[in-house]
C-alpha cells in the first residue's frame, strides 16, 4: 500500500516551481534540489543554506547538468 498523496500547501507548490526555475537557470544543482524544495516550502532555508547552494553550483557544477 502506498500513502495517499497529501495536498500541497501553496508554499510547497510555490517552492517546487521556484526550485525548478532555479535549477533551469543553473543557479543550484540537481543534487541539492530536494533539500531546496523542502526548505523553501517549510521556510527553513537560512542565509547560510542559500550561500551554500549557490556556492556549490558555482564551485562544483554538475558535469551534465543532471547529476
Amino acid at each position: 500500500m502506498t500513502e495517499p498523496e497529501q495536498e500541497k500547501s501553496p508554499s510547497q507548490e510555490l517552492a517546487e516551481q521556484a526550485a525548478d526555475a532555479l535549477l533551469k537557470a543553473k543557479l543550484v544543482r540537481k543534487k541539492d534540489l530536494a533539500e531546496l524544495r523542502s526548505a523553501l516550502g517549510i521556510g527553513s532555508a537560512t542565509a547560510e543554506d542559500w550561500i551554500s547552494w549557490l556556492d556549490l553550483a558555482m564551485e562544483k557544477p554538475e558535469d551534465d547538468g543532471n547529476e
Binding site: E7, S9, P10, S11, Q12, E13, L14, A15, Q17, A18, A21, L22, A25, L27, V28, A39, L40, G41, I42, G43, S44, A45, T46, A47, E48, D49, W50, I51, L54, D55, A57, M58
Partner: protein
Amino acid sequence: MSRAIKQLTLRSFRGATKPVDIPLDTSKPLVVLFGENGCGKSSLIDAIDFIANESYGSLMNRSVGGHRHPFLASLGSDLADIEIKLQTEEGGAWTAKLEKTRATVERTSTSGELPTVHVLRRAEILRIVEAKPAERYQELGRLIDVSSYQKSETALREALRTIEDSLQRAVDRVDQASSRLEELWEAEGSPGASAAAWGAAKAKEAVAELEQREATLKSVTQAIDSVKERRNEYGQALRRMRSAEQRLDGIGTELKQLPSLEGADAVALVALLQRAKPLVAEGTNTTACPLCLQSIPGEDLRTSIEERLSKLDDYVKLADRITAAERNRDSKAAVLDNSGTSMLSALSKLVELADEATSEVVAEGQSHLAALQDALGSCPEEITKDAIRAGRELCRALAPLTDELDDVSSDLAKHNAIRIQHEALIDAKKDALHQDQLVAQLKKTHEIVEGARKAHVDSVLHSIGSECEALYARIHPEEKLGSPRLSMHESKPGSVELEGVFQNRTDIPPQGYYSESHLDTLGFCVWLAIAQRGDHKSTILLIDDVFTSVDAQHISRIVDLISDVAEEFAQVIVATHYRSWRDRYKRAHAPGLKAQLLELHRWTLDKGISLSSTKLAVEELEEQCETDPLERQAVASQAGILLEALLDYLSLNYRRRLPRNHDNEWTLWDLLSACRKLFGALEIERDQAKASDGSDDEGDEEEALATVTEAVAPFYEETGRLVFLRNQVGCHFNLSGDEISNDDVRAFGEATAKLVRSVSCHACGEIPSRNKGDHFACTCGKTRMRPLEYDK
C-alpha cells in the same frame, strides 16, 4: 468519512451559561442555524473558531476597552471553566480550554485531523472590500498563505546582504594590498610597467640561493659569536683560577709566619688529632691510645686531645682555610678545563664553517683561518694561547660578515614582503571576484524566487478574481455592475487592487459606487472564491449572519449559491437571522434534504443557549396527519400554508396572471385559479436507479439511471377538491367546519403533502426552479420540471 463536525459542546463559553450539546447531521453538507438576534448564533460560530483556529472569534473585531479574553467566559463563569469539545465524523475529537490568555487545544482521539475552518463575519467582508490595497494584500496574503516561502525569501535577502558585506571587505583588502605593493614598488624606484606587474615578477623570482647564503652567513656569524662568548668565558675562568691559586699561596705565607715550634708539622699534627677525636669519643670504651697502644683511660685521652687542639687553635683555623682554598682552586681548575674544551670546540666549529663558506670576507681572512687551523692541529686536545690568539684574529677578519648577513636578510625580507602583498592581492582579487559572482547569482536567485511568488500570488488573485466574478454574476445577473477583479498593484509591492464595473466604467473601486448590499455580496464572493482554492474536503465554512442589507431576491440567489457549493466542502454552517432563509429549505424552495435546519430559541441567563431541529414543512404535516388525536386545526392550517407557499412559488416561476390589488397579496383561491391550467400541463421527470437485471457488471460504478415521467395534475385535483377545508377548519370559526370529519381533514393534509412531494426532488428536496434552457431543474439535477414556460 469527512472532517465534518458531528458534535459540538460548549461549557461556560460566551452565551453558553449552561452546558449545551449540538449534534450535527454529517450526512447533510449544509447546516442552517436560524435564530433571531441575541439567541447565541455567534457564540456557536466563535466556539468552532476558538477550537479550530485558537481565535477569540467575533471578539477580535470589537473593542472592549482592554483585554478581550475575559469576555470569552459566559456571565457568572470563570475563565478556567471554559471548555469546548468538538467531534468529527471521521472520529477526531478535541477539547479546547483557555490557559491564561490563549486557547489550548488537546486531541482526545487517536485518529482524525482537525478540519480547516474559514469564518466569514461582516468584519472580514469589510477587511476584504473596504481595506486599503496594502491591507487587502495582508488579508488576502494571510488566506493565500505563502508565509513559509516568504521566510526563505527573507533568508535569501539576508544572504545577499552578508555576501555584499564580504564583497566590500574583499575589495578593501584588494585596495590595502595594492596600496602596500605600490609603496614597495616606489621604494624600489618604480621599476617596470606597474606595481602589480613588478610584484608578480618579483614574487616569481627564485630565492633559494639567497636563503642558502643567509643560512651559511648566519651559521658563520653565530660561530663567531660563539667563539667570542667561549673566549670570554675562558678568560674569566682563567682569571678565577689564578685568583684561587693566589689565595692558596697567601695562606701558605701566613703559615710560614706562625711560631716554628711545631712548624709545618703542626698542620699535620692538627689533622692527626682531629682524625683521632672520633676514635676516643665517649661511648667507644677506649682504654688505650690508638696510635701507640699505650694503656691510657679513654677520659684521659679525650682530655689530652682537646687540650692539645686548644693550644694549636691558630693552626686548626689555618688548616681549615687551606683545605677550603685547595677545594676552590680545584673547582676553578675544573671550570677552566671545561671552558678550554668549549673554546676548542667553538674554534673548531668556526674553522669548519668558515672553510665551507664562500665569501670575499672569508677569502680575505684565509691566512687567519690557516693560522687557526695550524694552532688547533698542533695541539688538538688542549686549548693553547696560539689557538686563542689565532681565533681572535680570525673573528676580527670575519667581522664584516655580520654586515653581509644584514644585507642578505634585508633583501630576503623585502622579497617576502613583496611576495606576501602580491599573494594577498591575488587572494583578495580572487575572493572579490567570487563574492561578486555570488552576489550576482544571489540577485538572480532572489529575482526568480520573488518573481515566482509574485507570479503565483498574481495567478491566485487572478483565479480568485475570475471565480469571484462568476460567483458574483450568479447573485447579480444582468446588472450593470460587478465583474470584480483582484490584481497586484503594478508599482506598489504588497498591494492588491480591487476593481469592478459600474455602468460603462470598468475600473471602478467598488467601495466608491457600490451599495452596501453589493459590497456585502462582493466580499462574500471574494471570501468564497479564496476558500474554494484550498483543500475543500477538509474545510468547513462558517458564515456568521453576514447579509444584513441584502434584499429578498438576492438572498434567494445567495441561498441557491451556498446550497450549490456546500457539497464541495466538508461542511458549511450558515448562521442567519433571516427566517425566510430557513423557510426556503423548510418549504422545498431550496434543497431541504441536503440541509440540517436548527433553530435557536430565546436566550436567557438561566437557560443559556438552547436549540432544536426544524423539520421540513411537508414532513411536519405528514407527522401531524399520522398523530392521534388529530389536531384538526393545525393540520388544516399547516396544509393551507404549505399549499399557499407552493402555489405562490410556482406562480412566480411561471409568471402566472393574478388579479391586481393594492398590496400584491393574493388569496389561496387566487393562486389556485392562476395555477389550475398549469398543473394540467406540468410534468415531473425523475432520475431513478434501474432495477437490477441480474448481470454482475463489476467495476461499473456508475449507477444505471432510468427517467420516470410523472403528471402532477391528479395530486392537484385531489388537493383542490378539499382545499375549502383550509378556511372552514384551519382559519375561521364557523359551525359548518365542525361538521367536517377528521378523515376529511386528514385527507386534505395528506393530499397537500403528496402534491408538494409530487413536485419536489426526492433526493435533494427542492422544487425544480433553476432555468436549464428547456426545463427547470433542482439543485442536484435529478429532478426536472417541464415545461419551462406556460402562458395559457
